[in-house]
Symmetry: C2
DNA sequence: ATACTACTTGGAGTCAGCTCCAAGTCAAGT
DNA sequence: ACTTGACTTGGAGCTGACTCCAAGTAGTAT
């Protein structure tokens, strides 16, 4: 697989892919005699993983650390698992925040829909409360 | 409410709060004669909303646009609803990506747990596949 | 052989979103 | 009156994550 094919498949640019390799977000990719990157199935798995993790805001640094540990071999199994668990906490927290925001957006939009349908504004001061009776 | 109290309550710094006001993520806050910010209940609602939206990655620009429309009055009701719906699409997409990453992390961690418990590595080449029989 | 295109490198530049800083002001305490 | 400390401003600086660029090379087409 060429860099172009991988880019197209995973929706990132060649620059990003080269950057990931340079800083260690993915391990070094093999080259042809001419020096051109040739992505193996394993390379592709690493790319897929990196893209997925980055999509969820897992920081570059964490991915670099994981790759480093992976390359150090089996003694780092536990360290890698701990790293993954750390990442999971972060992602879960963000997931919760995103869900809270979805709830807020849905509520606000529903209020706007009513206002637009009836022509009447059902709020007078600031419309930005969620009617959370705390 | 002082800037300090608002900061503490919403977990952001005074610098961020002033920055939000400066660029228009929240409307201008009233001041005492001495020029010190005094947050009203409405101001606080705007802050709460901004923090919530930012936590879900809604871009600053979108929040600024919303505040601007809000201040222009009732003719912008529909524009504001459209903006919210746009934001909702973005947040939902991110939510899906985060969920996909959670699934991947859970799978990977479960594999590590097995490997650590049995002392046996259940993979030999690259462990980064999700066994998705595509 | 020459031109063309797609790749390569290292390094510099960009962008969003803060974050920090210097210099100044104000209210309260001594 | 003076010090202290929390606030104010505008602007500069920082960070993470790309993104772009110039200069060079390798393989293919004519």
């Amino acid at each position: 697989m060429t860099i172009k094919e991988i880019c197209a498949k995973y929706g990132i640019t060649a620059d990003t892919l080269r950057y990931y390799e340079r800083v260690g977000v993915i391990p070094a990719v093999r080259r042809t005699k001419g020096g051109i990157r040739s992505y193996s199935a394993e390379d592709e798995k690493w790319v897929e993983n990196a893209v997925c993790m980055r999509n969820a805001g897992v920081p570059i640094e964490m991915l670099i650390e994981y790759v480093k540990l992976f390359q150090e071999g089996d003694e780092t199994l536990e360290a890698r698992r701990n790293l993954l668990m750390e990442a999971r906490v972060t992602v879960q927290e963000n997931l919760d925040k995103y869900q809270a925001t979805m709830d807020r957006l849905n509520y606000k939009i529903s209020r706007y829909d009513v206002a637009l349908k009836t022509g009447v504004l059902s709020w007078d001061d600031c419309e930005d409360d969620l009617k959370k009776d705390k």
